[in-house]
Subunit: 318 residues, 2 copies
């Protein structure tokens, strides 16, 4: 007996809501609003072959689909509230659905983010989530707030997700345990929600690293009308990536993408607060450069010499 | 020179916002909240071959993608505020994009609904919109509020969209002008936003007719734990549909789907207010039956005799 659309929703995607006024099951969900807060909204769509490989485990895919959306809330310093899930599936495959729902809901619970609605349809696999968070009015971390003299920081490590992709492409070979480490970075990114919240009132700008660190930094530079100097070889990386040739390290850390770490700026004199926010979030943050009044990006090596090579941010249509 | 993702967003999908605190261009959009209001949220995903045919004009598709989402707000009595658009495209085709954006934005402007964010990616054509509206706390029209003795109403006419689909399938033949009328109903549905707002405090329940009137009525009956009697041949239909054989008329009106009219209930003594709400919205509404305490659906013909035939609501996986 095939599983119908409404049974599918009832079985896998209907959960009790505690904070929302109305969850899955009507034409709209209804969200309560807190006074003094703004609603932060973001939407990301994941397509097979672009955002994930067909080899990914369903629960990892469920995790990642929500993680990349929560990462956008993190980049604004917003506290997660709720999300909608729209899902196109080639067929109602219960093995896939149970794994996908498990990974999705586990991460949702960890961030107290309620599934309140959505849509399911037959079609080429496509996952579209819209996530809602709240942030005190005027305190959202924006791309446009970086100022000359600010330090530039990144959380955690970058580059492992791209290294994993190169392994899947057979361009790099890694031993079992090393491969597991970087594969996990690619398939199960942890959105830096706690760090984003801790950086409210401390960071002057923030963005999450999804299209490659330099590409994403470029958005901040344009939005803030400033430039930056980045110490390329100071970018934090895992021991697995650090064992690769320097050129691979640079490509993965600077232009890798899919990192979902926070790239943010803060005034020099707030460094202690930045470090306190990082400790509170249980994460390392590393200063990787500074914001300059002069436009453009200056990329320096470990000796302070310019790196001439161009690194591209990821563009879905180029 | 191919159009990149960020150029594409800048060229077609970046519009100034007036009501939202922050629109397209950061990790999240920021929405202002009005006191005394709840946020209503809905998301619908459209896939080629399921929700639209490859023959549809891009501007009609842009219109319909937003219309079906606004229709969910209408069914809750919510006033549109904003929406996000996530779009997977096989390629960045400027002819398609300019038409699509035109149809989308024209309808958005007509309903004062701001595009505040979203995502674009390469992939099989998929359009996912998440729409936000607001409704006074406690006044949302829900599926669960129908009560025994209520009258059952539907707005406008139903069945034309299905008749158009049957024409595209070569199951029905229509002359030029007649075909244009039903094709327009299928491709350019008008969300009944004004009617939904006028029905706040008057209707006891509402749903929009998207999967077929009987299927959607079934959701109301289950949510409200009641039954209904429907006068099948009293369903409002266009003169084009009324010229078809009775069996075609019944299939299209009862199980057609894609109508985006409002199906709602109201107490008998509020009929004058229902009619006033309809006049205010510039629409006809027709009483098509009543709500019964006894569970189940009783379908009667023009002579009050039971119709034995089964009509299915549309299910994407059955």
């Amino acid at each position: 007996m095939p599983l119908g659309e409404f049974e599918l929703i009832a079985k896998y995607f209907t959960l009790p809501v505690r904070r929302a006024a109305l969850g899955v099951g009507d034409d709209c969900a209804l969200l309560r609003q807190s006074s003094g807060m703004q609603l932060a909204v973001s939407s990301d769509m994941l397509v097979e072959g672009r955002h994930f490989l067909s080899t990914v485990a369903p629960d990892a895919l469920g995790h990642k689909a929500l993680a990349v959306n929560l990462s956008d809330l993190a980049a604004c310093g917003a506290t997660p509230l709720a999300f909608t899930l729209a899902l196109a599936l080639p067929r109602a495959d219960e093995d896939f659905l149970s794994g996908f729902a498990r990974g999705l809901i586990e991460l949702a619970r960890a961030h107290d983010c309620e599934l309140v609605g959505g849509d399911t349809t037959q079609g080429p696999l496509n996952i579209c989530i819209c996530v809602f968070g709240e942030v005190p009015i005027g305190q959202a971390l924006l791309r446009s707030g970086a100022r000359a003299g600010d330090r530039l920081y990144v959380s955690g490590t970058v580059g492992d997700a791209r290294l994993a992709l190169e392994c899947f492409r057979d361009k790099v070979g890694l031993e079992g345990q090393d491969f597991s480490v970087v594969r996990r970075a690619m398939e199960r990114p942890e959105p830096r929600v706690a760090l984003g919240i801790s950086l409210r009132g401390v960071a002057t700008s923030a963005i999450d690293v999804s299209d490659g660190l330099l590409g994403d930094l470029g958005h901040v530079l344009r939005a803030s009308s400033i430039g930056a100097t980045v110490h390329a070889d100071a970018l934090p990386r895992s021991t697995v990536l650090a064992a690769q040739p320097l050129q691979v390290q640079r490509e993965c850390t600077l232009a890798g993408g899919d990192d979902y770490e926070l790239l943010f700026t803060a005034p020099l004199q707030r460094n202690a607060e930045v470090q306190a926010a990082a400790r509170q979030a249980g994460l390392a943050v590393t200063c990787i450069g500074q914001i300059d009044a002069a436009p453009g990006l200056r990329l320096l090596d470990a000796h302070g010499q310019p790196i001439a090579q161009q690194f591209a941010g990821f563009d879905h249509f180029l």
